[in-house]
Symmetry: C2
Subunit: 97 residues, 2 copies
Amino acid sequence: MYGLIGSFIATPGSRDALRDILLASTGDMPGCRSYVVYEDTNDENTLWISEVWEREEDHRASLQLPEVRAAIAQAKPLIAGFGAHHVVRPVGGVGLS
Amino acid sequence: MYGLIGSFIATPGSRDALRDILLASTGDMPGCRSYVVYEDTNDENTLWISEVWEREEDHRASLQLPEVRAAIAQAKPLIAGFGAHHVVRPVGGVGLS
């Protein structure tokens, strides 16, 4: 499995909009076993994401899906910067579809 | 929902053992909607966890479950330190049981 844990910093006042864009594009992504969006409780502009993919290739392919490309284009102007970015190897647990 | 994203640093050589302890204790935790363990790909001693709970109280109650208490006792000597620790508010996505 292939995973990512990362954070985004939204431009001031746009975290909700960025969150909704991130959530709307997750409907049908082949190889996606978990994709959770979180609001930081300490920083009102920060969002977190944890992602679990069957293979790294599935993640890469997802970035080419029309709905994901559209979401990225919509999201870009709302992103002030990136925070954490960790490539991780999921090894199990609860909630892997 | 209530969530945690964090990392542990295992004592040298014990990451696999720590990982197995973390995974073994996740069987039946009321209110747990996701609990994924990851190996860091850049640091051979680091593990990551993402957790999604229905409520903060469910997380707190899980720490009192006999199997979780036993796992914590087993894990403690294998933990050299803690890295990231973020309290987060899960807002949706894929793989929330």
